[in-house]
Amino acid sequence: MLFNYYPFIFLFLPIALIGYFALGRFSHLAPVIWLVLASLAFYAVSNWQFVALLLASIAFNYLIGWLLIAAQLRGGVRFGVLTIDVAGDLIVLGTFKYAGFLATNLNAIFGAGLSVHILLPVGISFYTFTQIAFLVDAYRGNVARYALPHYALFVTYFPHLIAGPILHHRDMIPQFEAAESKSPNPHLILCGLMIFAIGLFKKTGLADGIQPLVALAFSPEAVPSFEQAWIGALAYTFQLYFDFSGYSDMAIGISLMFGIFLPLNFNSPYKATSIVDFWRRWHMTLSQFLRDYLYIPLGGNRHGRVLRYVNLMITMGLGGLWHGAAWTFVAWGALHGVYLCVNHVWTHFGPAAPPRFARAAEWAAFVLTFLAVVVAWVFFRADSMASALSVLSKMVDPTQGSFGRVEMANMMFVAVYAGIAWLAPNTQAIMGYHHNNRTVGETLGAWSRRPAFLYVSAAVLAFGILGIQQHSEFIYFRF
C-alpha cells in the first residue's frame, strides 16, 4: 500500500488509529499487537507473497537477539552467533536483491548463460539494516531484552516499513512501551496531519509535477540537447528530494498521530556547503547507520589518513550498492566516496579563505557542492552507465544546445523548484519538530497567528490529496 493512495488515507489510516486508541483504553500491549497486525496488513496489500519472509526474518533475528542478550554465551560463541545472523541476513538480502546482478555480470565476463529472475521484496533493504543494527548492539551489550510484540512492531511499524526512515531500537522501542502514546493526543494528531499534508504535497504537487522534465534527459528514447540534459538532471535532483523527503515527512506525520516520534531523514540537503555537510542532511538515518555499523567498525579515521579514505570509499561504494543492484549505483556511491575524500583532504590541507572573502568562499562551496551532487545523481537515475555518460557528455557540450523557447520556459520551472529547495524553510522548521526533545508545534506562534497557518496547511493537504495520481510510486520503494 502507498501513502499517496486514497484507500490508505481514507480507510486504512483512520481504522488503524481508531483501533489503536480504542484498545489503548484497556491495555498497553493490545495496541502494540494491533499495530503489528495493521502493519502486516499494510505490507500484505501489495506484497502478500513476502509476508512470510518478513515474519521469518523477525523470528530469526529475535531468536538470535535473545541468544545474545539473555543466554549466557562465551565471547567466541557470541561472536559466532552474531556472524551467523549477519551472514544469514545478508544472504537473504543478497539472494533477493543481488542474485540477478551477479548473474548478469557472470554472463558478461564468462558467458555463463545464467538466468535469474527474482522479485524484490519491498522494504527488504530497510528491515534488514534495522535488524542488523539491533543485533550488533545486542552483541555489544547495549540492548535490554525486548518483548516480542514490541520487537515485531519495531521492525514492521508501517510508517517506516517500506522506505524508512531506518529506525534505531533504542529510539523506538521505549516509545512503543510508553503508556502515554496509547491515548489520543489531539495536538499530536493535528501536528501529524499538518506534517503529513506537507509531505503529501511535496510528493503529489512537486515531485510528480516535475517528472515530465526528467524524461527529457532520461527516457529511453531521449536524445537530449545541452540544455535538455541539464534540465533533466536538475529536475531529477529536485524530484528525488521532494519525493523522498515528502515520503519521510508523511511517515513522520503518520507516526506522530500515533504519538510516536520518528527520526528526521532530511534537513534541507541542497543548502549544504560541503559534501560532508550534504551527508549530514540527506537520508540522515542511512548516513548514521553506515557511519555506526560500517565505517566505524572498518576502522573509521582511527588508523591514519590513507585508511580513512579507503574506509570512506568502501562505505560509500557499499552504500551505493545498497540502493540498487546496478553499476550505476556503485558509481554514484563511489563518486560520493571520492567527493568525501577530496572534502577531507581540502579541510586538512586547503587554505582557509581570508575573512573578507569568507562569504564568497561559502557561496562557491555551496555552488560546487550542489553541482557535484547533481552530477552524481545522473548515475543514480540513469538506466545504464552508457546512458549516464551520454547525459553527462551532453551537459558539457554547449554546442549541442538549441536554447529555444520551450527549453527556456522549462528552465523557469526548474528555477521555481530550486527556489523552494534553497529558500523555503524545511518541514521541521515550519512545524517546530524536535525528535530528541519529543516536541512539536510549540513554535507555531501565538494563537493570533495560528489560524492563518492552520488554513494554509489545510489547503496544502487539499492540494496534496487532489494531486494523487493512479500511477505514481515513491522512488525509494525500489530500494
Partner: protein, 371 residues
Amino acid sequence: MSNVAKDLVRFLATSALVMLLAVTLTFVVDPLQIFRRAHLFAAMYSQDSRMQDAGLIRSQDFDTVFMGTSLALHFRQSDIDRVLGVHSLKLSLNGSTSVEQNFVLAAALERHVKMVLWEMDDWIFHDAPGIDSNVYLPADLYRRNLGGVASYLFSGAMARESAWILARSIPPIEKPVAWLTTGVIFKFPIDRVDDINVLRPGFDVAGTYNAKKSFAAFKYITDPVRSIYLADGADYDRMVRNFERDAIGLIAAHPGVTFEIYFPPYSILQWVAMRDASPGTFEQVYNFTAYVSRRLTSFRNVQLYDFREASEVTHDLNNYADVIHHSPTIDLKVLSWLAEGKYLVDPSAPTASLDRLKAQMEAYRVEDVER
C-alpha cells in the same frame, strides 16, 4: 471540546472546502470540454490523446473519425477534410493497442459517425491489458459514469490546468502564461484542434526522415543481440482472437458505418529485417495479415487498402525516420491514395497485394543500399 480539537475540526473542514473550490474551478473551466464547449475561456488542447480524446468526442462536430497508432499521429484534420471531403476528428493514439483503439472508437461511434478511417498495424493485436487496467486512458471518463466524472473533477492536475487556462485568459498575463505553456509541465498548450500532435512549425523534417536514419534503425533491429524482439509478442492465435474481438466486433456492430481501413506503408526494410533476422516472424505476420485481409474484405461496409506494396514510397528510404515511421509528406500521399482508391484490396483476391509485397521483399538487396 478543547481548543486543539476545534483546530483539528477546522483544519479538516478547510481542507474539504478547498477541495470543493478546486472542483468548482475544474467544472467551470472544464479543460477537456467534457461538460460543455469552451465559451467562457479559450479552448485549449493537449497532446495526450488518451486523455484529450475523451473531451474531443464530446465537444467536436464530426462525421468521420481517424484512428491509428504513431503512424497516424501527425496527420492534420484539415488535410483529411480537404482531400477526402469529410468532417473528420483525429483520435489516433501513440503506441496504442487494439483494446484502446476499439474502446475509443466505440465511444466516438455513439455520435452518429458515417465513416471510420483506420490505420491498422498488425502489432496492435498483440495481447494487452483490459481497458480498465490501463492507467493512461481514463476509461470511466469516456463512459461519463460517476467514477469518471469524479476522478476528473477531483483531480489536482485538472484544477492546476484550469487555473492555468484561467490565467491565460487574463489579458495582462496572457502572453507570459502562453510563453510558459510548453506542454511538458502544463499540458494544454494547443489552441486549435487541427494542431493536436502535428509536427510543430520549423520541425527538422529532412534531419528526422532520411535514408541514413532508416538504415541505422535497420542495422539496430537486425543486430543478433536484438533481433529476438522482432518476434516479441507475435502469437498468431492470440492476435486472431484480439482482431476478432476488437476489429471485427466493432465493424459487425456498426453495419451503417463505412470502415476505410489501410495497412500503412512501412519501409521495405521492415520486411527485409524479418526476412534476414527473423523469418518465423514474417511467416506469422504473413499468415495473420492474410487472415485479416480475408475477414475484412468479407464485410460490405469495409474497404481495405494495402499500402505496404507501394514501392514508390516504401523503397525510398528518405521517407522514413526508422524502418516504419514515414514523413508528413507520405501522410498526404496516403490521403490521396485513399481519395483515388489506389491500392484497394480486391475482395476476390484478398492476399494478392501481400504476395506482391513478399516478392518485393525477396528481391530486395540490402547490399545495394549499403553501397
